[in-house]
């Protein structure tokens, strides 16, 4: 599956299915089970339908009525002072420690791993 056409094209996988949605929605929208199922089925069907190595098919879905959202992708927000000039670095910091979605997740992970090796969290020294 893909929601980044140029990146997928660059790595040249055997088969690819492209969905023209923003990142983070590679197989659909939240709480739309039927759409999710359709998109996944398109992806699975491509194993048989795409017979030329490196083929990529485009799915017939649009994120919204317009493509205006694309103008804002990886574009920094205007500076509050209205000045032009240096781009502000609005990227997320690359933290070296586990980044939990919920505080309770950290507690659950500690409880799982206390005193034992976890075969699931492969490659981690815990």
């Amino acid at each position: 599956m893909s929601s980044a056409h140029d990146i997928t094209r660059a790595v040249n996988p055997p088969r690819a299915v492209y969905l023209d949605y923003p990142h983070g929605r590679t197989v659909g929208r939240p709480n739309e089970q039927e759409l999710n199922r359709e998109i996944v089925l398109h992806g699975l069907s491509a194993f048989h339908q795409l017979t030329e190595p490196g083929s990529m098919t485009h799915l017939p879905y649009h994120w919204s009525d317009t493509d205006d959202w694309k103008d804002r992708v990886m574009r920094p927000a205007p500076r509050e002072d209205g000045a032009s000039g240096e781009m502000e670095d609005d990227r997320v910091d690359r933290h070296p420690d586990p980044q939990y979605q919920l505080p309770s997740d950290a507690e659950a992970a500690a409880a799982t791993h206390t005193g034992q090796d976890c075969l699931v969290c492969a490659g981690i020294d815990f």
Binding site: A4, D6, N12, P14, Q33, N36, L44, D67, G123
Partner: protein
């Protein structure tokens, strides 16, 4: 009424280059693979095929150690019977809003269960695999992480693997 003009796909490679240039960094070296991809013709019907998943959206289950954001080349094995509400997403490079509302946006566990129940696919691997994905070292992915996924998928005897990036 005229329909809104559609743009082509977002050119992420160009925008990343512009972003890095705007921040004063050297351009990121994207992977460009020119040679033809490895190819295995698929002949087994989908209804007889066992499906595996490798997803790179930083998905983990409650009780797992979460991913870090500094070239984390570890992976997680998530039961394909897991309840979606027990799954989490953590990543530095995409908007997590929708994935945290419904993990199926980036990890189609419910859809695959339903497709199996409906007989559309032959079965699912016992575990689906996830990683952080935001790994800047292509060498470490190629030499360490990807072979681990291959090893697990072969051991699971899946017929097809759905790769779900973000």
């Amino acid at each position: 009424m005229t329909s809104a003009k559609r743009q082509g796909p977002v050119r992420y490679i160009d925008r990343t280059r512009e972003q890095y240039a705007g921040l004063g960094y050297e351009p990121y070296g994207w992977a460009h693979i020119e040679e033809p991809p490895p190819w295995t013709p698929v002949t087994k019907p989908l209804s007889e095929s066992k499906i595996g998943v490798v997803a790179t959206g930083g998905i983990y289950a409650e009780g797992h150690t979460a991913f870090n954001y500094k070239d984390d080349i570890t992976y997680r094995a998530i039961s394909s019977d897991a309840d979606a509400s027990d799954l989490r997403a953590t990543h530095f490079a995409y908007d997590l809003t929708d994935a945290r509302e419904d993990i199926n946006c980036v990890f189609p566990i419910d859809a695959l269960r339903q497709l199996e129940a409906d007989g559309v696919i032959g079965g699912r691997a016992d575990n689906f695999y996830t990683c952080m994905g935001g790994i800047y070292s292509q060498r470490r992915v190629r030499e360490t992480l990807a072979p681990l996924f291959v090893e697990r998928c072969l051991a699971d005897e899946v017929d097809l693997v759905l790769l779900v990036p973000v």
